[in-house]
Amino acid sequence: MDLPIVVVAGLFTGGIYALVAVGLNLVFGVIRVVNFAHGEFVMFGMYGAYVASLWWGLGPYISSWLIVVPVTFVLGVLIQKFVIQPLLRQHLMQIFATFGLLILFQNIALAATRGETLTVKSSSSSSSIEVFGLSLDVTRLIVLIVAVIFTGAIMLFLRTSIYGVAMRAVSQDRATATLMGINVNRTYAVVFGASTAIAAFAGALISPAYSVTPTIGLSFALPAFAVVILGGLGSVGGSLVGGLIVGVVEALSGYYIDPALKQAVWFVLFLAVLIIRPAGLFGQRGDVEMD
């Protein structure tokens, strides 16, 4: 039966979505900002891996740590300081500004590549391994494993490390956190930088499996929104579970209905969650709805 293969494919895609959504969720949970340009950092990671492979012959699993993550982190911190921070309480303007970033990055990529599609060649590009009689693509398997480990690590970090606790404090009560001596602005900068870095990291990891185009950002950002809503705002574990669910549902609907209707699937999931249980699986009531 094809079903196991479809489900596994869904899990793999779900792992990617989960990784992308974790960063989005962190930013929303701590800073209470929605970064519409989030998907563009995934694209950035993919291009970074491509460039690193082309110029320095580095495989994506190395270049992602060495180059992509640090550069994107710095970029994220700068964006937070100059674009997000001034607009902290102005939700409408945040939408405009982050959309502006989205359009800017998309079109910088378009101008730089003249619309060409680029692919990273890697030793694991077309290799697969056999597990339980199924042939699994190594790249995607790695991403899924990384997503699970990473999410677990972040959850642990938030719960136990002093910085994680500080972040949770800031997300719950900005004013009190400041009084307790936590540098809120610095926390925001770090969280935003981290979220963009995670997104870029995910992009670098999946670069062997996907060709990168200037508009690929939205195709990760949109499902990431659905994942964040499904898993529950501010819940990192929810992002993992939500991501896997979205991935599997997408794969199943692609198999039984039509793969071209991916976006419709995301929207239906999004709407369904909002109608049935806006808080999502692990989120808190009142974050998303008005009353």
Partner: protein, 353 residues
């Protein structure tokens, strides 16, 4: 601040509406809706006449006439968006859906069934009203950003569906054969668009000055106070959305009649329609009557002109500029052109006292 004699005059006055208009003027209206009816409609007619003059002057220069005509159309679309996005504060990134419904209705009914485009416009308007009604309940439960996200996802879905289905023409879109196009003259289209702008502006003015406008602001700024005052937040937002959707759909239909051709990107594109129309409202002055019109008239032709002039630059340069503009305006120019003008005039008034 008001002076004692003016207060006396206000209190003694009876309830004649013309007089209340005058006494309100002395009470220093800070809100556009509080100018007297005479002033509002006089300015309205004046603006339309001025634009008509511009069109006449440009007659003969096809290129600039075309820029002006489309600029007027987008000014009207920005005005329509502003009803729910500006007055109502519900930031819709999904107006491309209504635009598309109008455009596709006209195109498909005309080409496949030979309908009169004007009749098809009505169909498009009705359909978009239905879509707006259906979407209102799930979407309006969401606060600010999530409403925006929801509408954005909706637009992306519409995009995907229009490519997927064959009867929408798929990715190639639909072309209206030349033989079927009744009006081909740019000047005439300019006049039609001006008529459409007149309609959108009139609706805007009526909304702002009437109960719906006040309720929209009340619901936007304070849900509980609005419901305590007798306004149903859901009903108010829904009506605002339906009005905005219907106008936008008509605009979409008219645009496609002008172009003679549509494909999914030209209608559902986030950059060219979905975010662009709100940007026009923002630049001109969100939440004001004049602002969106100003933004549309200035920015749309400017953007088209630059795209044409600098066509040899790498692809995406002009759009990248739009991105930068969005960021800069959101950070430093939030009130928009008309917003800044109003602030300036208010400061002058307050200083004069």
């Amino acid at each position: 601040m008001t002076k004692p004699e003016q207060v006396q005059a206000g209190e003694e006055r009876t309830c004649a509406s013309a007089k209340s208009g005058l006494s309100l003027k002395k009470l220093k209206p800070s809100h556009a809706s509080m100018v007297s009816a005479r002033t509002a409609w006089a300015s309205y007619v004046g603006a339309l006449v001025a634009l008509a003059v511009v069109l006449v002057l440009l007659k003969g220069d096809e290129y600039f006439l075309g820029l002006a005509a489309v600029g007027i159309l987008f000014a009207a679309l920005a005005c329509a968006w502003n009803i729910i996005g500006g007055f109502g504060g519900q930031f819709s990134l999904g107006h491309a859906v209504f635009f598309g419904v109008g455009a596709y209705s006209v195109c498909l009914l005309r080409v496949n069934h030979g309908w009169s485009p004007w009749l098809a416009l009505v169909v498009g308007a009705v359909l978009s009203a239905i879509v707006a009604l259906l979407l209102a309940w799930p979407l309006f439960r969401l606060s600010g950003v999530f409403f925006a996200i929801g509408t954005m996802v909706l637009a992306e879905v519409a995009f995907a569906l229009s490519i997927y289905f064959e009867w929408t023409g798929g990715a190639a879109g639909v072309t209206i054969p030349f033989a079927m196009r009744t009006i081909n003259d740019t000047f005439t289209w300019g006049v039609i668009f001006l008529g459409f702008l007149a309609a959108c502006l009139a609706v805007s003015i009526l909304v702002v000055r009437g109960r719906l406008g006040y309720y929209l602001v009340a619901v936007k700024e304070n849900h509980e106070a609005a419901s305590a005052a007798g306004a149903s937040p859901l009903a108010v937002k829904t009506i605002g959305l339906v009005i905005s959707a219907v106008l936008t759909a008509i605009g979409g239909g008219l645009f496609i009649m002008y172009l003679g051709f549509l494909d999914p990107p030209s209608v559902f594109s986030l950059v060219d329609v979905g975010v662009f129309i709100p940007l026009l409202a923002l630049v001109g002055g969100i939440g004001t009557i004049v602002g969106p019109v100003l933004g549309g008239l200035l920015l749309q032709p400017a953007q088209a002109y630059f795209r044409g002039e600098f066509a040899d630059l790498p692809p995406g340069t002009s759009q990248a500029f739009i991105g930068v503009l969005l960021i800069v305006v959101a950070l430093y120019f939030q009130d928009g052109i008309w917003g800044k003008v109003k602030n300036f005039m208010r400061k002058k008034r307050d200083r004069r006292d």
